[in-house]
């Protein structure tokens, strides 16, 4: 089924959004469209957007689930601002997502679902598909997707209910036709998933998928079809990876490079749970996983494992971080290695569990009692979560300290192609351990890193006690004023020493100029896209993304000083901007968005242009 190029309009990139009820299988078809497109190959980025409720009542606004795919023949760094095509499986999906559809965009609607009852639940007084304004504004294609799927299965032995469930594959098949995508990868997927256990289901889904595709071929009206050419991608072996999966792999890779076993302990919480789920499948790597009784226990178990000589890691999201903070203080005081992953979501409190935000930065930096500094590392794309997690493990072990790794819901669930690194490109990790032939001094330090040398239960002659009470160098409890001041200074100096191991900042554009856009974490793709496109148009603007938020990169101060203006876009109310202003006395301009959604490239471009023209 090689798509003919005749009849296609060539596009550099396309954004498709599938939207429907949370039971309509939109996440599955989005994933299939993604997997098919990576094999073309296209550059790609995805953004699943689903409700917090597992099954909100069918047909309601609350139950709408969507999956957006951005694929292109050139670099794709974000899931895209506005969709070029929207597949709306019911009126609620249309109501939620139509506002985002680009004018003139292709709108495929499942007319069968536009019943009086569904229209009412979506808040429509009349059927919008019959609205001449809508037909004028968009390239509307109203299809009885449900009816056509059932019709394609008229000989099938499946129950009517099961036939109805195949309609997502009809929509997928038709969308494949529009974009000239091959069906084979999806057929393969269906067979792998169902052929053995449920051959009737496999057969039905394949038939419906093909029926959707063939409908495009046989439709009498000429439709626009779009072609996205192969992307010029750096040669190499690739896989598709989500942020949380990349964290799991990065943690294992770090443990392997350090010759330590990994113990991950977590408590189920959106959007971090899939890290624990992923790691539970890596037991043959010596990975032990514990689903603890609560967030506090999860970090306690991880810290116990680190005390016993392994690398303990715990993962959570904002509310869980609050519960863990007393233990983070203990890890700071006892100077044990530990990684705490925070997959940020909208807060405070339960907030927006399935939506993204970057509002835990100040909590990561300062959210503990006492003077308790620790390194903070942030991932900047789904695949970058691998390297960020690896770095967190490296710093935790080499500096014998708890490390907070910040990700967010957007990175956790989004996925992109990842050029698989060579194992030899990852550095070895050297953990300072005590010399059993020497008398053990609990807080003896490596002169370079200031890391405490650790002795492990089971090592004869090194028996010692640690705990949250302040200690002197020999490990004895000490309430001496001078000792407390010195230990406080040493703990801070050790964290500051991490800066020596931080690589120089990556900068898009020149290292001096009119405007520097400074971001951290998951805004990297949108900021780089905005800045790169403006630079291509001749604007003098640069950008950087800060991975190491504590300690900050040593070259950051000089970089900031080289620009007339500094813009700091964040999905919070200006937390990094506050730090930069305080630390570097720079008049940084904040750009904030707290809507549970990532930045659009266009809104960043507009703000940058405004500042450049001021």
């Amino acid at each position: 089924m090689t798509p003919a190029t005749r009849g296609f309009r060539e596009m550099k990139s396309v954004v498709v959004r599938f939207a429907g009820d949370s039971g309509d299988g939109m996440q599955i078809v989005g994933e299939r469209f993604t997997d098919t497109s990576v094999t073309v190959p296209n550059a790609i980025a995805t953004f699943p957007d689903f409700p917090a409720e597992i099954r909100a009542p069918v047909g309601t606004i609350a139950g709408v689930s969507a999956f957006q795919v951005h694929f292109g023949s050139q670099t794709v760094l974000t899931p895209g601002d506005e969709p070029d095509s929207l597949v709306a499986m019911n009126p609620a999906a249309l109501a939620v997502h139509l506002g985002d559809l680009a004018e003139g965009g292709l709108l495929i609607a499942n007319s069968a679902a536009f019943t009086e009852e569904n229209l009412k639940m979506a808040g429509y007084g009349s059927n919008p598909l019959e609205d001449p304004e809508l037909q004028k504004k968009y390239d509307l294609l109203s299809l009885d997707i449900t009816g056509l799927a059932v019709e394609a299965l008229k000989d099938s032995s499946l129950s009517h209910r099961d036939k109805l469930r195949t309609k997502n594959f009809f929509a997928l098949g038709f969308t494949y036709w529009v974009y000239g995508r091959p069906l084979e990868p999806t057929i393969q997927f269906i067979n792998d998933k169902w052929a053995k256990k449920l051959p009737d289901v496999a057969d039905a889904n394949i038939r419906v998928l093909k029926a959707g595709y063939f409908l495009g071929e046989t439709m009498e009206t000429t439709r626009n079809r779009y072609m996205v050419a192969r992307a010029e991608v750096e040669p190499g072996t690739y896989r598709k990876i989500s942020g949380n999966d990349a964290i799991a792999l990065g943690l294992i890779a770090g443990a392997k490079k350090a010759g330590r076993e990994l113990l991950f302990s977590g408590y189920p919480i959106t959007p971090a749970s899939s890290i624990l789920e992923a790691l539970a499948g890596f037991k043959h790597y010596g990975v032990k996983t514990v689903q603890a009784e609560d967030e506090i226990a999860a970090i306690g178990v991880a810290l116990g494992a680190s005390f016993a000589g392994q690398i303990g890691v715990t993962g959570t999201s904002g509310p869980g971080m609050c519960l863990k903070s007393e233990f983070i203080g203990l890890a700071t005081s006892t100077e044990l290695p530990l990684v705490i992953v925070n997959v940020q979501r909208g807060g405070p409190s339960t907030g927006l569990p399935t939506k993204t935000e970057q509002s835990d930065l100040l909590q990561a930096l300062y959210g503990r009692h006492g003077e308790s500094p620790l390194p903070v590392v942030a991932a900047n794309s789904p695949s970058d979560c691998f390297r960020a997690a690896f770095e967190a493990v490296r710093i935790a072990l080499e500096y014998s300290t708890p490390v907070i790794l910040l990700s967010d819901g957007y990175l956790a669930n989004g996925s992109e192609p990842w050029k698989i690194p060579d194992e030899s490109s990852l550095p070895e990790i050297h953990k300072p351990f005590a010399d059993p032939s020497q008398p053990y001094v609990t807080f003896a330090r490596d002169p370079e890193t200031l890391a405490r040398t650790q002795a492990i239960p089971g090592q004869p002659g090194l028996e010692h006690r640690i705990g949250g009470l302040e200690k002197n160098e020999k490990g004895g409890i000490s309430y001496e004023p001078e000792n407390h001041a010195e230990m406080t200074r040493l703990r801070a100096a050790k964290v500051a020493a991490v800066a020596k191991s931080i690589p120089p900042l990556n900068v898009t554009g020149e290292r001096t100029g009119k405007l520097l856009v400074v971001g951290w974490g998951g805004t990297h793709g949108a900021i780089t896209s905005a800045v790169a496109s403006l630079r291509a148009e001749g604007y003098e603007v640069s950008s950087t993304n800060i991975r190491y938020l504590n300690p900050l990169p040593p070259d950051l101060g000089a970089l900031l000083a080289g620009f007339d203006k500094v813009l700091v876009p964040e999905l919070n109310s200006g937390q990094l901007a506050l730090i930069l202003r305080a630390r570097y006395l720079v008049d940084a301009v904040s750009m904030n968005k707290i809507m549970g959604r990532p930045f659009r490239v266009n809104e960043l471009r507009e703000r940058i242009l405004q500042l450049l023209n001021d």
Partner: protein
Amino acid sequence: MATETQTPAAPALSRKDFVTPNDVRWCPGCGDYAILNSLQRTLPELGVPRENFVIISGIGCSSRFPYYMQTYGFHTIHGRAPTVATGVKVANPDLSVWLVTGDGDGLSIGGTHLLHLLRRNLDVTVLLFNNRIYGLTKGQYSPTSPEGTRTKTTPGGSVDHPINPLLFALGAEATFIARTLDNNPKHMVETFKAAHEHKGVSFVEIFQNCVIFNDGAWDAVYAKENRNEQMLFLEAGKPLLFGKDKQKGIRLNGLTPEICDATAPDVLIHQPDHASPLYSQMLANMTLPDFPTPVGVVRSIQRPSYEQQIHGQVLAAQEKLGGGTWQELLHGSSTWTVE
């Protein structure tokens, strides 16, 4: 295992090998001294190399314990010692892990963690020092204080119904449950040894006196003038007898225990491995003033331990899938190549 555990022909250890040079800072006359002394006498006799002992505690007077034991030790945070003990034991099942906690630490702020440690059957020994008071914070009532206890926070008497630690442990289906006394070193050593030998979690409640804030906490049970009549020493396979001349016994009347003559034919025989928890529950429920207080091993049954099962899953996965390569880790199941 991550640690370099050595098993040389272990040199014989003695009590002094477990004494630290640190000054012990409990109040003079505190029951904790006797417990410390008994544990220091127990550990050398267990055949475990000293470096394999780990003592983990929470916060409170009892939780200072690790500082006074010449072993690996971790003084953690309030109530959370069971979580750290879980991490240590899962990371290295070869270690002999002892958890020291109190009535406030273990049953109030850390009640959840203790519950889960017990139901998971982690192979650690829990020593719960029960003095029925918050000592380190200078005398507030605790979750085991009897109703009506007058303290600074309860000038009119406490209205909370107290927790019975043995019933708590039984509710969590702990596989080994025992009670011992800070004024009976011989019984403590015997109980600690039995707890150590048990594979799976061992829960030991220790009646402990707080000489400053709750002096005489257990006198009604174990003071010289009361001990014969008010305590029932449990011995496996022996009848439940008590009294100065062991002249009284316990038998069942329907589902309820009652005191009878020691010569009665239906005096109950102590069976810590009794399949039914009803028997353990009957013992755990026996309290003053109606019954003598049972002391010794109440329950001891077998169930696979948590850390052995986790370890077993790792071994099984390695057997089935091999040790895990870099190639498999990084590449996963589906890749594509761009030329």
